[in-house]
């Protein structure tokens, strides 16, 4: 029974294989694929080109704004008003010491004490307060 089944199965598989092998691709696959590749490529550029162009324009504008020649600017730049200072008069300049008179390094004046003078007498005595009277011998009321 089993060999009969196997031969039947084999026969049917062989028939199915002949049918399977009879299937052919309808057309020229290479031509279809290369055309599809070209379509994909064209579609890619069609979709991407506007973005590339826009990015290039932005780059040009940004580059021009940062690296434009300084003499060709027409953009009005608001300049803050200058700070008003008192002009130095010639007499004030004449009162300043000459550069030769200025020492190389700064020195402390010799007539000033390094430690400030302080005497004990200068500290005032604390004020007397009734609440601080701790002698309870005589009631205060």
């Amino acid at each position: 029974m089993a060999p009969y089944q196997m031969s039947q199965l084999r026969k049917q598989l062989q028939n199915a294989k002949a049918d399977y092998e009879s299937a052919k691709y309808p057309g020229d696959l290479a031509a279809d694929v290369f055309a599809r590749q070209a379509t994909r490529s064209a579609s890619f550029w069609r979709q991407t080109a506007p973005y590339i162009a826009a990015a290039a324009c932005v780059a040009v504008i940004v580059g021009w704004a940062f690296y434009r020649p300084s003499g060709e600017t027409n953009i009005a730049v608001s300049v803050p008003p200058a700070i008003q200072t008192n002009a130095t008069s010639d007499s004030e300049l004449a009162a300043l010491p000459a550069p030769e008179a200025i020492p190389e390094s700064s020195t402390l004046p010799s007539d000033l004490p390094l430690v400030p003078s302080m005497s004990v007498e200068s500290i005032p005595s604390p004020p007397s307060m009734a609440s601080m009277d701790l002698s309870y011998d005589q009631p205060s009321f």
């Binding site: 039947q8 199965l9 598989l13 049918d19 696959l29 290479a30 694929v33």
Partner: protein, 171 residues
Amino acid sequence: MDEPTIEAAQNGDRAAQTSLIGALQDVWYRFALGLLRNPDQAADAAQETALRFLRDLPKFKGGSTIKTWSLGIALNVAREQRRRRTWASESAASGEASDSPSPLAEADRAEQVGRIRQLLADLPDRQREALLLRFFEDLSVDEAAKAMNAAPGTIKATVHQALRSLRNKLM
């Protein structure tokens, strides 16, 4: 599909690529038709297989025949298409495939082919894939294992299960 043609195709030679695709187009189409059971989807799968074949051809190292290697690509494409297909379209495709005219002349033979085709369609996907590769594409167990990215023992067991299932249903 000789070695110089494959090398030329790998280097971008358009004529060599055309020659390779021409030699393999029916293999890809009938394999996809056997898995998807829809002529339009099989043609789409063949085109997608060819595109990926051209893209991945420089990576082909010659560890197997180019037919076996490309059937691995075709199998992946067919699996992806099968996953995308809805149940409704699958039912329609099945009906369409069974109504397509048979090239066989004898009525009883056509009936047998139709029956075995239906039995093949009813098999689980993996069993049908293994059976097509082993018996319809005449790949060895090792080649089918490479195409399916599975162990040879797994292919043997899968084919055995498929044949047993077919035999039981034929009774």
